[in-house]
């Protein structure tokens, strides 16, 4: 099976300043890598590097056999707290429609298929019930679901999700977990950054980050007490 994401001895950072080094992993279609760490530990930097928004400092990285950012229609990125959410007067459904822009480019007209994909994404995330309301008038959880629907509307083969459960209640978090499971069943590879250790339960692999890779491997291996203590200064409750 072809590797979806390949990283070898990868160093990442901003403006030449290294945040995390020596990252090595391979992900196959349908696999889930969960990134766990404190704020500033390098989770978002790794996701932005995979999305092609930050250039790697050194090492190798490829997504679907190409360099990051080379195939925007096949790789979708959900940023942490999109900045405009509190002010944008546009309807939620229009924000979801933007998920098709990577396929449409500047000038292509949207087709019936695009509209159906947008409708399905809204249905799956529950955005349909508030589709006509302005993004700024929605609650934090509803805004997060809208952005998630936008990412799903991309119909990408790789999803890079930066804290998609932030601002969601228990039911909302479970819905996101279900959506990720469904996507994986369809062969979509997912990289998920989170603070919630419970998000790692169904992961193929977990990477613990603290300005370096503390541990990487299956959840039962990477979430051992000594690694968690090193990463957070405490262990998970048994």
């Amino acid at each position: 099976m072809t590797t979806s994401i390949h990283a070898s001895a990868l160093s990442i950072g901003h403006d030449g300043r290294r945040v995390v080094g020596d990252i090595t992993f391979d992900l196959l279609p349908g696999e889930l890598l969960v990134l766990i760490g404190t704020n500033g530990s390098g989770k978002s930097t790794l996701l932005k590097t995979l999305a092609g928004m930050l250039a790697p400092i050194s090492g190798e990285v490829s997504i679907l056999g190409r360099q990051p950012g080379a195939m925007p229609s096949r790789v979708a990125f959900l940023p942490q707290h999109p900045v405009s959410s509190h002010t944008l007067p546009l309807r939620a459904e229009h924000v979801v429609e933007m998920g098709r822009y990577a396929h449409l480019g500047l000038l292509k007209r949207s087709t019936q298929i695009d509209r159906e994909i947008v409708a399905q994404s809204m249905e799956r995330t529950g955005v349909k019930e508030f589709a006509a309301r302005a993004l700024r008038d929605l609650s934090g959880g509803q805004q997060q679901r809208t952005h998630l629907a936008q990412v799903l509307a991309r119909r990408a083969e790789v999803l890079l999700l930066d804290e998609p459960t932030a601002g969601l209640d228990v039911n909302g978090r479970q819905s996101v977990a279900d959506l990720i499971s469904q996507e994986r069943e369809n062969g979509v590879t997912v990289v998920l950054a989170t603070h919630e250790i419970s998000d790692a339960n169904s992961a193929t692999a977990v990477m613990l980050l603290a300005h370096r890779v503390v541990a990487i491997g299956p959840p039962e291996e990477a979430l051992r007490d000594e690694y968690l203590r090193e990463c957070f200064g405490f262990t998970q409750p048994h």
Binding site: P72, F77, M98, A102, L106
Partner: protein
């Protein structure tokens, strides 16, 4: 209401020019409001001053000087933000005051500049020529066409830069194009409403559009209507009360925004009261239904 425009050619020209300023500002202003570029717009509007002053000193067209000033301002903002790692606001603020001071210094070189400076700052709405109208119309077509072609990356920029980049659109490129449109708008409008007041026409009508619209195109249409209405009202006030035309138009645009905002709040309050009334009504009905069950 129509007499001043029917009887005076300068009033008709002023109306045409004001409507054209409203149209072009509606397109650029919508993105300025959605992307939060009001301060950049303000800086661009003032940043053109030294360019215009230098052009007048050299006997060149003020429009060319304004374009050069706007280009220097845009490049300066990009350079300072990237190289010195300062926030966008700080970079813009530094260049804004720097360019404004430079403009005032150049204009202070000659006493004959006093009249020119007033014209640059406050516009010359009541002395519009056909050539200026033609230039404005061409600028509107250009800004409208570029905004239509770039509408998708522009909208993504208004949501999040990360989304823009990951959707295959370069943030640097489309942000620069957006700033370029604002610069063209400023250059095309300053002769009419002046560099001090052009920001008002960029912001106030588009902010009115943002209050009551949920689509990009509708927002632009509302902004254009609101700006045109402000032009008409402002010119009438200016004619009858002998007040500065540009300032009357911009103040009218701001008043329209305040009225629409107040109307929106009143409507929201009435809706809330109506909903509360319905909820209370339902609560009243419940015991009644409950009593029936017991009977």
């Amino acid at each position: 209401m129509l007499q001043p425009f029917l009887n005076n050619e300068f009033m008709r020209h002023a109306l045409y020019a004001g409507v054209l300023v409203s149209l072009i500002c509606a397109v650029a202003g919508t993105f300025v409001v959605l992307r939060g570029l009001a301060f950049v717009g303000d800086a661009l509007a003032h940043g053109v001053l030294p360019g215009i002053a230098t052009a007048l000193l050299l006997g060149v067209s003020g429009v060319i000087g304004a374009a050069a000033g706007a280009a220097v301002m845009m490049m300066g903002v990009n350079l300072v933000t990237r190289k010195l790692r300062l926030s966008g606001d700080t970079s813009v603020g530094l260049l804004f005051v720097g360019m404004l001071a430079l403009g005032v210094m150049i204009t202070s070189r000659s006493k004959s500049f006093t009249g020119d400076l007033t014209r640059i700052l406050f516009g010359e709405l009541l002395g519009v020529r056909w050539s200026q109208l033609a230039w404005q119309a061409a600028a509107f077509v250009f800004v409208g066409a570029v905004a239509w072609v770039c509408r998708r990356p522009f909208l993504l920029l208004c949501v999040d830069e990360g989304l823009t980049e990951s959707s295959g659109f370069s943030v640097k490129r489309y942000h620069a194009i957006m700033l370029g449109l604002v610069a063209v708008t400023v250059v095309a409008s300053f002769q009419i409403v002046g560099t001090l007041l052009v920001l008002g026409m960029l912001i106030a009508p588009s902010a009115t559009g943002a209050l009551i619209s949920r689509r990009l195109f509708t927002m632009m249409v509302v902004a254009a209507i609101s700006g045109s209405a402000a032009t008409y009202i402002g010119l009438l006030i200016s004619y009858h009360a002998d007040l500065a035309a540009g300032a009357s138009i911009v103040l009218s645009a701001v008043v329209i925004f305040v009225v629409v905002a107040a109307g929106r709040e009143v409507r929201a309050a009435l809706n809330r009261r109506h909903r509360n009334g319905q909820d209370n009504g339902q609560e009243d009905e419940l015991p009644h239904q409950h009593a029936h069950v017991h009977i």
